[in-house]
Amino acid sequence: MVRRGRDLLMVYSLKTRILENKKILPDFYEMVLSAPAIAAEAVPGQFLMVKTSPTLVPFLRRPISLSRINAEEGTITLVYQVVGSGTKLMTVMTPGSEIEVVGPLGKGFTWSVKDKVVAIVGGGCGIAPLVALTEELLKAGKEVYALLGAQSRDKLLSDKYFIELGAKVMIATDDGSFGRKGFVTQLLEEVINTTRLDQVYCCGPLPMTKAVVKLTKEALVPCQVSLEERMGCGVGACLGCVCKVRSEEGSLTYKKVCHDGPVFTSSEVIFDD
């Protein structure tokens, strides 16, 4: 065993047991891990760096959000979309075997006691971390609008589970194969027009995120966005994953998505066009 240092430790580098790893949609898998230490400390919006291969390729670990955090059972759930070599290798891992992960990493979503009505806006695999968030928000007694978007019905994550949880679910698909035809941002626009939202939480593709930030800014609703950037270390050491932000003094600077995020206040992030 590696001796631990003097600091208060909140990040683990562990081999965890895979309890489940199953296809939930044509391109999506759900993996349940036994990781009591991580489950005990993690908050929604945080992520893991996952080693996807026993060899040196892929060399880098893959950042995957915590989709569900079950502290009682000591489990965490990852929902991942198969997009390239790393996620492809994850699909062949079998329950019972081990997977190396580092986490919980980053700064998660936050909420305040004053918030009453909130909306989560998720697109594609960005819906994954919003599941854990919604669980917490509902536990905390908020009224939650869950606005979910996907290209098509067979790419829509977790809609049933959001309903079960008791969120007010609204759905949009690009091709109209399920819910409203169009973008999830149109749903948000409607909700904003009819309801006073105290907070919006957003995770999804960049164009969606930009649109959500614009809408919430205009409506003066506070908004938290979860960003993605290519990661090296995932812990804040390599400066690989920066995004542009406005510093407190107003000047332009970089923050680390892995360490200062992935969740940022929408007002601080600067998007290039």
């Binding site: 240092g5 909140m10 040196l56 390729v57 880098l60 390599c238 970089y254």
Partner: protein, 304 residues
Amino acid sequence: MINLAVEVAGIKVKNPVMTASGTFGFGREYSKFYNLSLLGAIMVKGTTLEPRLGNPPPRLAETPAGLLNCIGLQNPGVDAVIKEEIPWLSQYDVPIIVNISGHSLEEYGEIALRLDGVAGVAGLEINISCPNVKHGGLAFGTEPQMAADVIRTVKDKSKLPIIAKLSPNVTDITEIAKAVEAAGADAISLINTLLGMAIDIKTRRPVLSNIVGGLSGPAVKPVAVRMVWQVARAVKIPIIGMGGIVSAEDAIEFLLAGASAVAVGAGNFYDPLAPLKVIEGIKAWLEQEKIADIRELIGAVKIC
């Protein structure tokens, strides 16, 4: 009792395993994983005179068994490093080696001067090789005369041990190594990153914002081992070997090639506990091979 301690450039380290500049920040992040005092030494992020923002993202591209980076020396500047980072890191019992970069000889000199005598700083690693910044990197490290000038300048301004960090992007690494030795370098670090490029075929754009970047990781290990071996035979000063180390076996390969110490760089990303595993693996291997002193390995490759 097995001896793991070595001395490099007058810096005594309890074991020969360091962490490479730019891959370990200023130590804070990895202090959440283990006690940094376990390390041989820490080479902190490349530090410049003024704060630098670095290049825009994307700054990383994964490649087969490696990665490209074009961080571009983002750092808070030497004064902030002295004020905020060194004091924090000094709480650990581990030599701190500050990696420095400049746009000009004067800048190199000025940074060296400011770091001279700063409590906790054990040595300076002079980055004459960073391929990312147009006016601070490539030129200095690829020409023996220029490389020597930089080393002479910092030697002039600082009583600290001076480690010259060489670029592998040269025709003859021994020429540069001999030049920095003659200029007074106390040790040599190698290798820095190989200049590389990746193109995203979907967008038809370079993956990195800076078009080209520095290649590191296991992919470059054979090049690094070769250069350590060549340089070890060309100079008398000690070498800190790096380039693709992720395991104890990798580290031992560098020691045998002629390195007196090694550094784990991108290996930290592969496994945050990599440096510790390398240290423990070396110890276990020495035990198994019944070698009492790690120094027996240095340069011990048998050529016949």
